[in-house]
Symmetry: C2
Subunit: 229 residues, 2 copies
């Protein structure tokens, strides 16, 4: 059977496009026909993940399962989901999928552990922080991590929402002071643990790829390894 990667996207659409672009760019192909077959479902009318976790809003799970079913029916043989917060529902989605489902959290933590990138600061949505998606995984390997204080976490969340609303410049300006403070507190590395953050910090993180860990990039690298395995 032909291998096809399914991208469960739309959370947000910009991060989905970024993941797809990175997948194409990182594939060692010499012509069109050598590229990895991909189906993308970017159906962004998925209830807000953070709203659900923090304020008990509508569950996004049924809409996510709908996208997953579309990908499976289209022939996907492996799923990736370029949204960190959505990985709160990873176990439920993986179980339902019945096919390989590569976790962005695991892909990222594997790199942090294997390259000993500590202490690492976690930049993510308030929901990703509250549900301890990264903290639990890092703690298992006794990796040292830092979190922003509550006020800065609000600023980081504001920055993500600004980016989603189309204001990338203000998003950057809002996020930057939080990085400085985390660095002053001892952070040597940063997990860009929301797939909008590599877009907000695009120029800065490109210059220091060893310092800023791009979760989308880690997910894509693992997906490409799966394809060629």
């Amino acid at each position: 059977m032909k291998k096809i990667i399914g991208i469960l996207g739309g959370m947000g659409p910009g991060a989905t496009a970024d993941a797809f672009e990175k997948l194409v760019a990182r594939t060692p192909a010499g012509k069109d026909q050598e590229h990895i077959p991909v189906i993308v479902a970017s159906l962004p009318d998925i209830p807000d993940r953070t709203e659900n976790i923090i304020h008990s809003g509508v569950s996004p799970l049924p809409a996510m399962l709908n996208s997953l079913n579309i990908l499976k029916e289209a022939g996907a043989s492996c799923i990736i989901m370029p949204c960190n917060t959505a990985h709160y529902w990873y176990d439920a989605l993986k179980k339902h999928s019945g096919i390989p489902f590569i976790s962005i959290i695991e892909s990222t933590c594997e790199r942090i552990i294997s390259e000993d990138k500590q202490p690492v600061a976690i930049l993510a949505t308030t929901a990703t922080i509250r549900t301890r998606l990264y903290q639990n995984k890092l703690a298992k390997s006794a990796a040292t991590y830092l979190l922003p204080d509550e006020k800065d976490q609000d600023e980081i969340m504001k920055s993500i929402l600004l980016y989603k609303s189309g204001n990338s410049e203000l998003a950057y300006k809002t996020l930057l002071p939080c990085l400085v403070k985390l660095e002053d507190s001892g952070a040597k590395h940063f997990i860009m643990g929301c797939t909008e953050i590599p877009l907000i910090l695009h120029d800065l993180s490109r210059k220091q790829p060893e310092k800023y860990i791009d979760t989308t990039e880690e997910l894509i690298k693992k997906a490409i390894r799966w394809y060629y395995s």
Copy 2:
């Protein structure tokens, strides 16, 4: 019924990612949920379009119809195909689709005619030139166009294949002298009539968007208008 745009992609995957990224970037959305639902089929194992047209290679139509069926079954209510050469099969695909199918050739020519962008040079694959996809459409509106000479057309084709093989820098260096000659011959505008060309000429064309007409961009703008109509 919910409107969903289906992107019939993979020709090539880089151009598909570019089209998706442009669709997201040009959509006037304030949050994830306001974005346009999109399904992308990037199944690049489609026989080479230029090979088929020029050297009677294997027909790409069955593989293109397969992608089209996947998009329809996934719920697409309108199709776009970010590949100019593939529009040689546009009528057959449109007839089979039974849903709106926006042509990249028509979208581009509409802008050229309405903004009187003449004389315009056509930069495209040798197959797109030989099958007169742009020439026939422009001639109907009595628009003046220029074509590269045969030697330069070979260089343009070489540049496109270089880009597809991952060598973007050499692709740019190969294409540039052809532009200069066309400009010396009187070209005031350029149709970037292969969806790899806006990628090859990325920096140059961004600086002069009135001179370099991005066919992917024109297709996306029309698709967004369709969505909001």
